[in-house]
Structures are given as C-alpha cells and as structure tokens.
C-alpha cells in the first residue's frame, strides 16, 4: 500500500506471550500500514491475533509480552526490537474503547471522578470545574444527560456505559482510537447507535481502528479491511475491493458465513498442528498445494489490495 499519511506502521512485527518458559507467538511477522483519518477494520476469528495487534497499538500489552520487529505510531517508535515505550503516546495519541465498558470503568469512582482524573492528566489542568466542562460537552456529543456524572458505573446500563466510554474518548481527543469489539455485547439497536458515534469520530479527522469478528459491521463502518488469521494478515484492502473480489479462500469463507451460505463449511480439525512456517490456512484450504508449506508474502494486485496466498 502506498500512502503518504500513515498513522500506524508495523514492520515485521512479532508479539508473543511468555508462558512457563515457552513463547506463544500471537503475531507472526506482520507488515501493515494504517492510513490517517480513516476507519480501518481488523477482522478475524478469536485467536487470530487481532486483539494483540489492537493492544500493541493502544499500548496495552501485558508485562510478560515478548516483542520483535518495529511498530511506529504517528512516527513515534513504540516497539523497536524488545524495547517497548509508550510514554507520550498512550492516552494522548492513542486511546482504546473497551470491549465491555462497564467492567472497564473503575467501580469505586463516580463517573465525574473518572472524567476529572483523566482530563486533569491529559490537559494538565488543575481545576475540577474546567475538567467537568469538557466532560459535559463530551457527554452532550453522545446524547447523555449530564446527571450521569454523579453515578457509579454499576448504576449504568450497558448502552449508557458504551456511550460513557465513547464520551471519555471524545473528551481526551486523541488522534487514533482503537475500538476492541465495540459492539459484541450490544443489541441491534444500540449497535447502530454506536456505529453512528464511531462514524462521527472519523468525520472529525481521527483514525479509527476497529477490531471485530463481525465482517458485516466492519463493512458498514470502515473504508479499509485487514483480514487476520493465526497471527498473519492474509488479505488487506479497501472495503469494497475486498468484499466484491475476495482473493483469499479464508476471506471468502468469512463472507459466505456472513451471508449465511454454509455450503462449503465444515469443522476444521487438527488446527493446532498448523506449521508456523507455512500458510496458516493450509490445513483447511480447499486449494491446498505443496507450496503452502512455505509462508506466502502479501502480494499486491493493485495499489491497495493485497493478499497472502500462493494460489491466485
């Protein structure tokens, strides 16, 4: 992908977790460029490494994570080999919208204290009044009454919690917003409302990175899609290109599943035996061939549409 304005750039990024002396790699050498001021979706099944990528961008990798390669956020190097440094990025350039907003709010603090803690830190202001002014403006933007400020998290409903989380993000005013499964706990109506709020964020010129397993939601919101499988990006491109002309068999499988077309679906077995060095999809790929024991590189068929498959 050739783009001038890049918000997030990853080059041969490996991230793994140390588990009793062994390292389990969640990301296996990823190259990705996320353009500025767009909505970018990362789609994949659970265990595909999409949440790890999201956490890496948002700076929320756990302390036992192991890193290799490079990750730049807004041209600031956050991961360089095994050096990880998010100071000056987390909470000012990148903010994450949590998957489950109610468990992501401190249960011991009122919403107003959450706002004032964060805003005092962000804008280096000391007066609580000024912080609450910003908070009220942000709450207005998500259609919440300002009396929410006086409540504790357990007194909010799920939809309100989601909106409070988005309001916090708006108040912080970061350049990149990472939304980790923003709608997985919401019903259809609230899903739509959240979708609109997230669109507003993009409209303001922010970069939105959505991590989801729901390709339909992704297509409705985003202009770019990256499909991930077992720690690799298998297909990447503009949404309409990927959806109208899916090149990777796994993308096709995902789109078929979203259209409730299960003709070719079957349970994959022995998935855990997948060779790390080969193509991750090879064990369940219908077009499987001998070359698949080697890992395919992302191959761009045009300026923006890339796919990692030997059998095109």
């Amino acid at each position: 992908m050739v783009l001038n304005e890049v918000a997030v750039r990853a080059r041969n990024l490996w991230i793994g977790y140390e588990e009793e002396g062994e390292i389990l790699w969640a990301l296996n050498g990823i190259d990705i460029d996320i353009p500025k001021a767009t909505a970018f979706c990362i789609v994949g099944e659970s265990g595909s490494g999409k949440s790890t990528l999201g956490n890496a961008i948002a700076g929320l990798l756990p302390p036992y994570a192991v890193t290799k390669g490079r990750l730049d956020v807004y041209n600031i190097s956050v991961i360089d080999g095994d050096k990880v440094d998010y100071s000056g990025v987390r909470g000012s350039i990148v903010v994450r919208i949590p998957q489950n907003p109610l468990s992501a709010l401190n249960p011991y603090l009122k919403i107003e204290s959450v706002f004032s803690d964060i805003l005092k830190q962000r804008f280096r202001i000391n007066s609580k009044v000024k912080a609450l002014e910003i908070a009220q403006k942000a709450l207005k933007a998500v259609d919440l009454p300002s009396d929410v400020l006086g409540r504790y998290p357990h007194q909010l409903s799920g939809g309100m919690g989601q909106r409070v989380a988005i309001a916090l993000t708006i108040a912080i005013d970061p350049e990149i917003v990472v939304a980790d499964e923003p709608t997985s706990n919401l019903d259809a109506y609230l899903k739509g409302a959240t979708l609109n709020l997230l669109r507003d964020i993009v409209r303001k010129g922010k970069t939105l990175i959505v991590i989801t397993h729901d390709i339909l939601f992704a297509s409705a919101l985003c202009s770019f899609i990256a499909v991930m499988l077992m720690g690799n990006v298998v297909e990447i491109g503009k949404t309409e290109e990927v959806l109208s002309n899916p090149l990777h068999p796994y993308t096709r499988e995902l789109i078929d599943a979203a259209n409730l077309n299960f003709k070719n679906s079957k349970y994959a077995i022995n998935r855990s035996k997948t060779n790390l060095r080969g193509c991750a999809y090879s064990s369940r790929c219908p077009k499987h061939s001998a070359r698949c024991y080697e890992k395919p590189k992302l191959f761009y068929i045009n300026e923006s549409h890339g796919v990692a498959c030997w059998n095109l």
């Binding site: 987390r90 909470g91 249960p107 830190q121």
Partner: protein, 340 residues
C-alpha cells in the same frame, strides 16, 4: 457517604444477643457432659477439707434439683442482669475481672493494629509494585517467616534480647508508678494521659510497644501478602488496563485504582485476623508479664475457674462481633456496590 441501614444495625445487635445466648447455653450444657457431678466442676474440682462445702454451695447456685430448662433460664437471666458469679481464682466478681483484663488486652491490640495496618499496606504496595525485584523477594520471605514462626517464640527471642541489652519492660507499668495514676478507664496509657502525667504515659507506652510489635507481626505479614496478591490481581482487571489506555499516571493507577479496590478485602481480612490475634495476644502477654485475657486464662486454668471462662467467652464473642461490624461498615464506605 453511605451509612449502614437501621435494619443492619438491628440485625447486628440481634446477632450479638443470640451469640451470647448460644455461648451461655453451650457452656451450661457442656457442664452436664462433664464426667462426675456438675456441681463439682462448677466449684472448680475442689479438694481438701472445704470441698464438701464448696460443692454444696455450687449445687445451690446451679439449682440442680430444678428441671434443666429452668436451670438454663436462671443461668441466662442472671447473666443478663450483670451477675456473672464469683471468680474462683480472683475471689472477685467475674464482671470486674473480665473488664479489667479486657481493657488491658484491648490496649495492646489497638497499639498492635495501628502499627500493623499502615505498615502492612505500605510494604504490601511496595512489594506488589516491585514484583520480582529484590525488595519484593525480601518482603515475601520476611512475611512468610513472620506467618509461619509462632509469635510466642519470636516474643521469647525478643524478650531475651531485651534482657541482654539490660532493658526491663516487664509488666504494663513501672511498679513505682502503679499507685500514682488514678484509674478511670483502666488503661494505664489513657489514664496517665488524662491525668497529665507525661513521664508515666511514656513509660506505659514504652512497655506496650515491644509486645504490640510482636502481636502486630502476624496481621502485618498477612496484609503484605494479601495486598501483594490482590494488587497484582487488580492490575489484571479490565478497568485498570483501561485507565492505562486513558494515559493515567502510574501512581494514580496504583493508589486510586488498584489500592482502592483492595481496601474492602483488607478490612474483611482484619475482621478475621482479629480473632486469631487474641490468641497471639494471650501468649505474648504471658511472656511480657502483662494483664489481659491471656494471662487471665492462664491463671484460671489451674483453678478450673469455670465462671470466669464463661465470662471471657461471652465477652470475646461480643468483641468479635463489634470488630466485624466495624469491618463491614468500612467495606460499605469503601465499595459503592456493597449495601447492608
């Protein structure tokens, strides 16, 4: 700030009442299981020329010729009227002996817990923040040893050490000061402070500190361990990670987010360790020659002083309930989700 509801307070008082009732019934019924004559047990297994007389008096007091339910009723009735009988060892009313020793033990416990809780919290936080570093390892091993080493043994070592230094801190107050303070509360520390005798206050506090430090070791070590464990657990919680994502500073996350969530657990913990600390207090009191529940029991055992033991049981039960009520209230104040 949220306060406990009236309903809760009534419930607590009712619990205390039923516990005392249970203790009294239990102790009274236990006498009947004792081998031999209940009156013999009640009189403290007397021997010698006056034994006959004592047993007869005990029989009268227990009312052995009346039916059992009536006996229990009079027993309980007398207790709630404040007539707890006469201590066989001290030859004084039990109520007097119990309150005197209770105040002495509380004096020690209060000093001990006001050392244990702040120090435990600070060290626990340090341990959790530097997990895996040398500080944490030292604190971990130290807290492990303090929990597993019997406190009476540590107290003996400490006492012998003080003796070797030539410091004598035996007893609660220097004998020469004993008659110079007017007894108001029963605690020499408070009494000397009320009457404005600074030198006596300093002396009593100095004598309270070493045993209090020993009693404090167990709750302190437990606090360190619990805080170390639960702060690490809290740092795994979604809301702490989210706070990080919002860019909150490290100290704010630790104190306002992680530690705040630990307070209810700490408060609950100390409600429980308190009961355990009474046992430690008893042994330490004996080593440092202080009055208190522990030394009262040691004095009661050779005399089979059953009335005194019943009094101690009831009072320590009530004490336990009071401490747990306080711990409940702290939990309510510190956690907005809890209601009682």
């Amino acid at each position: 700030m949220k306060m406990p509801s009236l309903n809760y307070i009534i419930k607590r008082i009712a619990t205390a009442f039923f516990v005392v009732l249970g203790v009294l019934m239990l102790t009274y019924v236990l006498i009947y299981f004792s081998p031999g004559n209940p009156a013999y047990t009640w009189a403290g297994r007397p021997r010698g020329p006056k034994a006959e007389e004592a047993i007869k008096a005990a029989e009268e007091e227990l009312g052995l010729n009346k039916p059992l339910y009536l006996q229990i009723y009079t027993h309980i009735n007398r207790f709630f009227k404040g007539d707890w009988g006469l201590s066989l060892r001290f030859k004084q009313p039990v109520l007097l002996v119990v309150t005197r020793n209770l105040v002495a033990s509380l004096e020690l416990l209060v000093v001990a817990f006001s050392i244990a809780i702040p120090l435990g919290i600070i060290l626990g936080v340090v341990s959790a923040l530097y997990r895996g570093y040398l500080v944490d390892k030292v604190l971990y091993v130290a807290s492990l040893l303090l929990i597993s080493f019997p406190r009476f043994w540590i107290a003996i070592l400490f006492y012998v050490f003080l003796q070797m230094l030539g410091v004598n801190l035996f007893g609660r107050i220097a004998p020469s000061y004993m008659l110079m303070v007017e007894s108001r509360v029963g605690s020499y520390i408070i009494d000397s402070l009320i009457s404005g005798r600074v030198e006596i206050f300093a002396d009593t506090l100095m004598r309270a500190l070493p045993p209090a430090v020993i009693v404090a070791l167990y709750p302190m070590a437990l606090t360190i361990r619990v805080i170390r464990f639960s702060i690490s657990e809290k740092l795994h919680e979604e809301y702490v990670r989210q706070a990080m994502s919002y860019g909150l500073s490290r100290s704010k996350i630790v104190y306002r987010y992680a530690l705040r969530g630990v307070i209810p657990a700490i408060s609950q913990l100390h409600g429980i360790t308190f009961a355990y600390s009474i046992v430690d207090t008893a042994t330490v009191e004996n080593i440092f020659g202080r009055d208190g529940i522990g030394s009262a029991i040691v004095k009661a055992i050779p005399y089979n002083d059953y009335p005194l033991i019943i009094g101690l049981l009831a009072v320590s039960g009530i004490l336990f309930i009071v401490v747990n009520t306080v711990s409940d209230i702290i939990q309510v104040i510190s956690d907005p989700r809890v209601r009682i």
